[in-house]
Structures are given as C-alpha cells and as structure tokens.
C-alpha cells in the first residue's frame, strides 16, 4: 500500500498551487479553476485518510464536497458572465470597484 503521507503531500501541493493560482492569476475563469483545484486537493486528502482509517466517513464527505463544488461552479460562472457582460473585462484587478 502506498503510504498515506504521499497522498497528503500531494494534496498539500495541489492545494498550494490552487491557492497561488487564486492569488496570482488575473483571468476570472482561471481563478475559478484554481478554486476547483483546491477543492479537489481537499477531496484527495479526505479519501486518503478514509482509506487509512478504514472508515467511510471520508468518502461521504467527499461526495458532499463534490456536490457543493458543482453547485458553486454553476452559480460562480453565472456571476462571471454577468460581470463580463456589464464590465466587458474578464480580469479581476479591473473589476475592483468597491475600493476607497
């Protein structure tokens, strides 16, 4: 069996990449993809621990997270479309309106 640690490290790395993507990328769609990546990294960690502990709690939680991620993706993309239609810009830094 592959040691659980490897999975966790991979999950952490994926999470870090996702977080970095959220912070650094300008394109709203890419930011969204990075958010999805973070969610999936967490899923991986859950599944790894579920396998190690022999419990199905982790698997159930992963199903929940996937469902929520799907719903969130739908809503988020709808918002992005609305923003782009009104502002004609897909870049996060150009949509910084609520500023001082």
């Amino acid at each position: 069996m592959v040691p659980t640690g490897y999975y966790v490290i991979l999950a952490a790395a994926l999470f870090a990449v996702g977080a970095l993507g959220v912070l650094i990328r300008r394109n709203l769609i890419v930011i969204f993809m990075a958010i999805e990546l973070m969610l999936n990294a967490v899923n991986l960690a859950f599944v790894a621990f579920a396998r190690q502990l022999g419990s199905s709690d982790g698997h159930v939680f992963v199903l929940f997270v996937m469902t929520v991620a799907a719903a969130e993706a739908a809503v988020g993309l709808a918002i992005i479309i609305a923003v782009v239609r009104n502002r004609e810009s897909i870049f996060a830094d150009q949509n910084a309106l609520l500023r001082w």
Binding site: V22, L23, D93, A96, W100
Partner: protein, 648 residues
C-alpha cells in the same frame, strides 16, 4: 429660643411665586397690572397675620416652617426652612408693605410701556427672592434669595435693554455684585468648615448661634470679613458701590424698591442676623464701622454735585447705608434695622416722588432744567418735602429718631465716628434740599414744550406717595429715646433676637465698646442738639445758595476750581476701576477668546478629530476592491490560526 411650627409662613413666599407664574402664563397688560400688585398685597396680609401670631407668643419666639428637604448629605441637612422671628418680622413687613405700594405705583408709571408683563414678572420674582432671603432659616437658602435679588436687579436695571447704556449698567451691577458674592461664598465655606471641624454639620442660624463659640477668633474674623465683603457688594459700600449710581438707568419704581428699600438692605440684614458671629470678631466690627463711616461721608460729598435727580438719591442711598453699617459696627444692630426701616419709607418716597416729577415732565431728569413745579404738582411737592425733612433728620420726622440713635451709639464708641456721622448728616440735609429747591421752587427752567405738558401724576402714583409720606412722618415714633413716652419700643421688640443691641444711654452691655469710650453715659441731649443743628445748617446753606443768594455759587466755584468737577465725577473712581481692573480683565478675556479658545482648546478637540480622520485615512487603504487581495488576507489569517495550534 422657642420654636413654633406654623405653615402660614410659606404662604408669604407662595403668593409672589404665583404672581410670577400668572404673569408668565397670561402676559396681558390688563391682567398683570392687577395680578402682580394683588399677589404682593396678599403676601403683605399674610405677613401681617404671621407677625400677629408671633406677637401673641412670648418674646423670643420663632415661627418655623419646614417646607421641604433640599440636601441631605451625610450629616449635613440643608432644608428649605422658613422662619419668622422679630428681626425677619420687621424685614418681611417692610418688604411686602413697601413692595406692595411700589407695585401699585408701577401700574401708573409703566402704564404706557410696551413690556409691562415682563416688568411685573421680574418685579414679582424680585419680591419672591427678597422674601426668601429674609425668611430663610439657614445660610444657603439666604444665599439663594441673595442671588435671586441680584439677578432681578440685573434684569430690571437693564429693562429697557435696547439702549446699550442700560444693558451695560445692568451688567455692571451684576458683575460687581458677583465679586461680593464670591467673598460671601468663601465666608460661608469657611464657616461651614470651621463648624464641621468641631463636629457641627449645620448651617441653620439657630444651630450656628449655639455652636459659634467653638470657633477660633481668627477664623471668626476671617468669616465675618468675607461675609461683610459680600455685604459691601450687595449694599453698595466702599469699594463695591459703583454699580448703584449707574443702576438709575432702570425704571424709577425699580430704583425705589430694589435700590432703596429692599435689596441694598440685604447686607445690613446679613450682618444683623449673624451678630453673634461678629461679636466674636471685634476687628471685623471695627472694619464694618469704619467702612460704613467712610462710605457715608464720601457718598454725601459726591451727592452734593450731582445734576441728575436720581443720582442724587442713589448716592444718598449709599450714604445712608453707610450709617446702617456704622450702627452694626458699634453693636447697635437694632438701631441699624430701625434706620433700615425708616430709610425704606423715606427713600422709597423720594424715589417715587422723583419718578412722579420725571413722569410729569415727560422724561426730564436733569435738575438744571426743572424748577417751579410747586404749583403744577402739589401732591408730589408736599410728599417730597416730607421725604426731604425725614432724611435730613428734622424732628419729629422718621429719620431723626433712627439717625440719632446711631449717632449716640457711635459717639459712645469713638467721638471721631460721631463727627463723621454728623458731618454726613449736615451734607445730607444740604444736598437733599438743594435737590428739592432746584426741582420745585423758582421759575421753571424747562423748555417750552415740556413746560406746557407738566402735569400731576395719576392717583395710582399719588396714593403710594401719600402713604409713604405718612410713614415717613410717624414711622420714627416707635423708637423714641429712652425717657420719652414709651421709649424704644422698636428696640425692645428686637432685643430677644439682637441681644442687647438697642440705642440708649445704658450702653454698658453693648458689644461694641471701642476705643475712646471713656464717656460711659453720653451727653444725650447735647448730641441730639448737635444733629438737629447740623440738619438746620445744611438746610440753611441750601436755602442760601439756591434761593436767597444764587450768585454765591459762582463765587464758590471760582474760589474752589475743579472741586465741582471732581465731585460730580465721583472722584473719578469709575475711571480708576476701569483702568486698574476692567481693562486688564477685558484684555485677559480678549486673549482667552481670540487665542486660548481657538488655538488651544479648539485645537485639542479638532486635533483629536483630525487624528481619528488620519488614522482612518491610513487604514482604509486596505480596501482595494481587488478580491484577490482579500483572498490573500484570508489565507494569511488561516495560516496564522493553524500555526498557533500546530507550533508547540
């Protein structure tokens, strides 16, 4: 001292209070001119009933009315307690009686004034405060009345405030009074502190009297001097008398009531009320007597050269108050109150008469433009004559008996004091009859238009004049010298309260045996003769210079150049105060207003606001609007929390 509870006392004060409320709620001329005098009239009747009840009790009795509990702090209880003893009985009858007459007079004098409602409101408020002052059973309540009369004095002096000089006069009166009030408060605190040090936490008069013996003479002297300083402010003595001549800017009935009969007597009342305290401080009594004598003489010399009819009377008031303080200083408290009463009668009479003259001459107040009113204003003529004879000390008018008692006791204390008093009496007779002759005799010096309209005053004004004239004639008969008829009935009435302070040859038990009192039994008859002679000399001199040989005046003016100017400008004391005190204080105030207030105080407050704004301006830069920056702070926060728990 026997105290009897009697709730009628509060009614003496409640009537004027209702007067104030009524005048405020229904400010219509037709209402206030009936309501205001009626309320004071009711107060007078109530006072009569109260004094009657007091009279029926054995001597030394006191009617006490506990109205309500004002302050109860630890051991100190200060209540609104009113009391009537012999001393406050006299005061309350004078205040309500003369006050009622002046209210009636005012209905005539102020008949055409626009602000009648405001006038009567203030007048009733004044009556309320003055009654509170004389009926108070403890010092703080007395001070409430004290302040109240000061306020009403300000309001009424500056009644016609549209003219700046009237408003300034009111302001001057209030500020000068305030200086006295500050000293009063210091004295009150010192007394309270001194009594508290021996465990007596009280400020009621009877309690103070019982425990005053425990105070050290030094402290008692300080207290007495401070309270006397307060009295000099209220009663216009040296050095705080300067507001009274200016106060003539107010309506004449106001001058009669406040600045002749009642408010200015508050200082005398205070000293008399606290006589037991002054008995412990002979130094303070000496100061009182000397200040009184100096003021009496000084003011008399100034009155000699005044050309405004009201100013003559104002300085005369200052002078006569000086006599009352001489009496207090030598321990003759009953004589002081006696003169207070007779003075109230004839001074109010004189002021109201002057008001009648001013009214009849359409507003003229300058003596140089009067003359010849004898025929056209007969009632005013006769009553003013009675007043002048009374104040000059011509027997058997009121002023003679009261002034004589004071002069006798002054002589027993020190002949020099007596001499000052007699000189003042001579000057008094002179300047009063100078005023009288200039006003009523000889050809009229008024302009033609004024002369046409000279008329006698309406009955509402004449009636009080007649009543006061009657009092000025017979009012002195209650205090005759010892062996005449019923003797000093007035002094006997006051004796239980004022403990041995009445006029008479048996001055051995008086508390004021001062320097030079080697004469035990004073030559009474001789002194009486001297004062009558002084009065005669004064009247004679006035007659000579103003009726018989007017040309002499020009010769005197040539012989003593500058004297007339010095006196008519009151020794330039006002100018001196202006330069020494008013200008520096005004400069300080200006500095505070222009520099301290905007640049220091406002700077602190504004600075605080600006600091907040600056801080805010810094912090708000966090709000970039860029979602990714917010995500970064989320991440950092989460990392911090994890680190806190993960790092051992």
């Amino acid at each position: 001292m026997e105290t009897t509870a009697d709730s009628i006392v509060r009614w003496i004060v409640i009537w004027p209070l209702l007067g104030v409320l009524g005048n405020l709620l229904i400010p219509r001329r037709s209402f206030v001119r009936l309501w205001a005098p009626a309320m004071v009239g009711l107060a007078f009747v109530t006072a009569l009933v109260a004094v009657w009840r007091l009279w029926m009790l054995p001597p030394g009795a006191v009617l006490v009315d506990h109205v309500y509990r004002w302050m109860a702090v630890g051991n100190l209880h200060v209540n609104v307690d009113l009391s009537v003893d012999a001393l406050s009985a006299v005061m309350v009858l004078v205040v309500t009686g003369v006050g009622c007459l002046i209210h009636v007079y005012s209905t005539g004098y102020m008949a055409e004034d626009r602000d009648v409602a405001r006038y009567f409101t203030y007048l009733n408020l004044f009556t309320l405060s003055m009654l509170l002052l004389v009926l108070a059973d403890n010092l703080p309540l007395l001070f409430v009345g004290w302040e109240g009369v000061g306020l009403c004095s300000y309001l009424l002096i500056g009644f016609w405030y549209e003219k700046t000089e009237n408003a300034s006069a009111g302001k001057k009166a209030f500020v000068v009074n305030r200086i006295g009030d500050a000293c009063f408060l210091l004295g009150l605190f010192a007394l309270f502190w001194g009594l508290g040090a021996q465990g007596t936490w009280t400020v009621a008069f009877r309690d103070i009297e019982a425990s005053a013996a425990g105070l050290s003479p030094g402290l008692a002297t300080v207290i007495c001097l401070l309270l006397f300083a307060g009295a000099t402010g209220k009663s216009a003595q040296l050095p705080l008398y300067v507001w009274l001549p200016d106060a003539m800017a107010g309506p004449t009935p106001v001058s009669a009531l406040i600045h002749a009969a009642t408010m200015v007597t508050a200082g005398v009342y205070l000293v008399a009320r606290l006589h037991f305290l002054y008995a412990m401080a002979p130094v303070a009594l000496e100061v009182v007597a000397i200040v009184g004598a100096a003021t009496a003489l000084l003011a008399a010399t100034i009155a000699v050269a005044q050309t405004d009819i009201k100013r003559v009377l104002a300085y005369s008031t200052v002078s006569q108050l000086g006599y009352m303080f001489i009496a207090c200083g030598v321990g003759a408290y009953a004589s002081a109150i006696f003169h207070l009463m007779t003075h109230a009668f004839f001074k109010a009479l004189l002021f109201l008469g002057a008001g009648s003259v001013i009214h009849g001459m359409g507003g003229e107040q300058d003596l140089r433009r009067m003359g010849g009113l004898q025929v056209r204003m007969p009632t005013t003529f006769v009553t003013m004559l009675a007043g002048c004879l009374a104040i000059a000390g011509v027997p058997p008018f009121a002023g003679f008996f009261s002034k004589d008692q004071i002069l006798l006791r002054a002589y027993e204390w020190h002949p020099a004091l007596w001499l000052a008093g007699v000189l003042g009496a001579g000057l008094t007779a002179y300047y009063m009859f100078r005023m009288f002759f200039l006003t009523f005799t000889g050809p009229s010096r008024a302009t033609a238009s004024v002369r046409e309209h000279i008329h006698e005053s309406p009955p509402s004004m004449r009636l009080p004049l007649v009543a006061l004239a009657a009092l000025a004639v017979v009012g002195g008969l209650v205090g005759l010298p010892e062996h005449w008829l019923w003797g000093d009935a007035f002094g006997a009435f006051l004796a239980p309260v004022l403990a041995g302070g009445h006029g008479g040859a048996a001055g051995a038990h008086s508390t004021g045996m001062g320097p030079g009192a080697a004469h035990g039994h004073a030559p009474e008859a001789l002194l009486m003769l001297a004062s009558v002679a002084a009065a005669g000399a004064g009247i004679g001199a006035a007659y000579l210079l103003y009726i018989r040989r007017p040309a002499e005046r020009a010769r005197l003016r040539a012989r003593f150049p500058g004297l007339e100017q010095l006196l008519s400008h009151a020794y330039y004391v006002d100018e001196l105060y202006e330069a020494l005190i008013v200008r520096p204080v005004a400069a300080l105030a200006g500095f505070a207003a222009r520099v301290l207030d905007p640049r220091v105080i406002d700077a602190c407050v504004n600075g605080l606001a600006q600091l907040t704004a600056a801080l805010g301006g810094g912090w708000r830069r966090l709000q970039t609007g860029n979602v990714q920056h917010y995500a970064l702070s989320l991440l950092l926060g989460a990392a911090a929390i994890v680190a806190y728990y993960a790092v051992p």
